[in-house]
Symmetry: C2
Subunit: 233 residues, 2 copies
């Protein structure tokens, strides 16, 4: 902390378990948090509604939802393209079809723009290289390269400010993430991780994300607050 | 060229003189060009109308305009914020108020996403470090850092493809850009560079961009096809 004023952080918030935990960790460091979510043609509003609940519960200064109709138009993913089925047969090798092209590059670019406007020097993103190693833009080397680029991209950087991209979950298992979050008071009942949640935010229980999440609660020996849709059981 | 099929390039196209020239240079290399423009709450539609005319004239395969209402909401610039006056007293030291936070980071991120979907390995951006040295995200070191990041960001990169960000104008003077474009058949009468063009696309003649452009035509000894608004003279 370089001055008496509380420092600001932009926190990418999807409404899922991971980003809710990353937000709690940023708050625990005493940062004033500005949550940033995206409406990019997700299959359901459950995720954004969860992001709203999580942001309010965490006491963020401001929560912005950036509308990205363009990403849906460009996209080529089961998360935005309704003609591709969300897989439900468990995890496979390689890059999942739920990968969205350049998604974290785009999300971090918006976070960088907002951080510059706010004078924030911290960006938090809840990426994880353990359970989601299939996503290229969740790897530490990608984040480091983005951080280097960010420190050349902005007016603030030219004027000497440094931007730090924080990935507090990157090497944690799902169980460890849950343990951290429980310790910091995260209410995981507010979050939605499911790729195919119903309009009320109830999880399918069979997609990759549901499987990882449920296994995490079991391994952490924490009671799973997830609401499952009747057909998903 | 690694195979018989023509390679694809995504070309960022603003409708101004520089990006029209970069597009012509990509076409001259025999690439199939996909033009990408953004509607981010510019002060006028003249720029996007110019982009449409330039794309058509250059024979692109496809021209997409991505709507970015979010950038206007986040923005903090004379180009998107109508409460900040566009300067008209000539160039000054430092970073212009017309700088848009993280703009080229965002534009390149969208280009990267579309390139991945298209299987394109080339992105062209008409940045220039000579006349616009005030913009941090027009510097060669920024572009190089983005390129390194891009080669870690995508599924294509993981699978061994390399992405190349081309900046064919980066070290050219405005006059040299114009000479190149004229040689390649660019019709600069279709382009709009003015920060404050009127609804018909006529230039003000006094903003930084107009001054640089007019000086470029004079220095290149090329007749200036720019249409100026009556009050701008």
């Amino acid at each position: 902390m370089t001055n008496a004023q509380t420092e600001r952080a932009v926190v990418l918030l999807s409404g899922g378990l991971d980003s809710a935990t990353a937000l709690a960790m940023a708050r625990a460091r005493g940062l004033d948090c500005y949550a940033l979510s995206f409406d990019y043609g997700q299959r359901h509003d459950a995720e954004l509604n969860a992001a709203r609940r999580v942001a309010e519960h965490a006491g963020v200064i401001e929560h912005r939802i950036v509308s990205l109709p363009g990403l849906g138009a460009i996209g080529d993913s089961a998360l935005t393209d309704r003609s591709i089925d969300v897989p439900s047969e468990g995890l496979k090798e390689g890059i999942p079809v739920t990968y969205v092209p350049a998604r974290n590059t785009l999300f971090l670019a918006f976070a960088l723009a907002w951080a510059e406007v706010l004078g924030a020097r911290h960006i938090f993103i809840g990426v994880n290289a353990v359970d989601y190693s299939g996503y290229p833009d969740c790897r530490p080397e990608f984040i480091e390269a983005f951080n280097r680029m960010a420190n050349l991209a902005t007016k603030a950087a030219v004027e000497g400010a440094t931007m730090e991209i924080h990935t507090p979950l990157i090497h944690l298992s799902k169980a460890d993430i849950i343990r951290q979050g429980v310790r910091l008071g995260v209410d995981y009942g507010l979050t939605v991780s499911c790729y195919a949640a119903d309009p009320e935010g109830r999880a399918c229980g069979v997609c990759d994300s549901c499987r990882l999440r449920a296994a995490g609660f079991r391994e952490a020996e924490v009671s799973d607050p997830t609401r499952y849709a009747p057909t998903g059981e």
